[in-house]
Symmetry: C2
Subunit: 167 residues, 2 copies
DNA sequence: GTCATTTGGTTCAAATTGGAACGAAGCCAG
DNA sequence: CTGGCTTCGTTCCAATTTGAACCAAATGAC
């Protein structure tokens, strides 16, 4: 095998910044939400997704995909939230196996009260730190990163060429 | 309290991209390292830090700070790595309480063999997806984000004015 | 020197996470 | 219809993570 393409100075700087920024931001938000609303970031995101869904509910698998978490992890968190009365489970009429997670009124209320503090923390730790230019570049760059990683479940050799429907 | 400053469309796009990109990239690297080298990302980072340190060793607290992890979490991981023979513990001559984590020759060897695959994964999932322009903006923006979060252990009121030297 | 405070690291318990295994259903070719 | 394969969600288990409690030692004020 050939010598790997190591990262040059700029690339390394970007990677290190990415790594530490993500860890630090996550840690900060986790702490803020726990302190101010008694929610983990995962739980908060569950509420956000359900609240934004047309009828306040989503299938378990769909929700797990959106949160980028494992199915078993989601099962656990939904159980916790259910216990807390913030979401409920409904079965799916068209598929007996299916389960909808559905946000409750109390869930919406908790979300509503947690949101301002959360948004403020997001601003302080990330958004307001960036220049408008950096913001747009990050949105575009990381948006593309997300799109690719979501599309590519497993393709080691497929270079950066978009790849037409791997079959 | 006044109406919070909600995120506008661009800000929301950046935030969502940031959130999902970080989750997806983390998941991808975690999986690649586990599959190809039997290491967790945390463990890999421990080896990277120690390997780069002048004498192959760092104090526990210093290392925990660099990895953005808790002290107890680091204690656990160092124990694991020690068990695997990749690092060792040395006591600190100038401070009886202090402990140095030190990478072993085998640790360096494992790191050397894991690095190419890891770098390739970092390229595929992040670096090579970005344009050079996006790369520099991300390095600068997220670098600043890291710097601020590291500097500010707890200052709710300190508005975004603090740092004049944004560039 | 002496006491109070901080610091360094570990230990402990509780929460979370992810993968593998599972049972129940859907789906489809033949 | 029927066997074979995939999908859905849960359960189970092992690994990891974190904060709190702790002990010992360093530091600082007097």
């Amino acid at each position: 095998m050939t010598e790997p393409r190591w990262l040059d100075e700029d690339e390394k700087a970007a990677w290190i910044a990415f790594l530490s920024a993500t860890n630090l931001v996550n840690r900060r938000l986790e702490q803020q939400l726990k302190d101010d609303a008694g929610l983990s970031h995962t739980q908060y995101e569950v509420l956000v997704q359900l609240n934004a869904a047309p009828d306040g509910s989503l299938r378990m698998t769909e929700l797990a995909d959106r949160l980028v978490t494992s199915k078993s992890g989601l099962t656990y968190q939904i159980t916790q939230l259910e216990r807390a009365g913030l979401v409920g489970r409904r079965s799916c009429p068209s598929d007996v196996r299916g389960v909808f997670a559905e946000i409750t009124d109390e869930g919406r209320a908790v979300l509503r009260s947690a949101a301002p503090g959360h948004v403020e923390a997001v601003r302080q730790s990330l958004i307001d730190v960036l220049t408008p230019e950096q913001l747009t570049h990050i949105a575009a760059g990381l948006g593309e990163v997300s799109r690719r990683l979501r599309a590519e479940p497993r393709c080691p050799s497929q270079s950066t060429q978009t790849a037409p429907a791997t079959q």
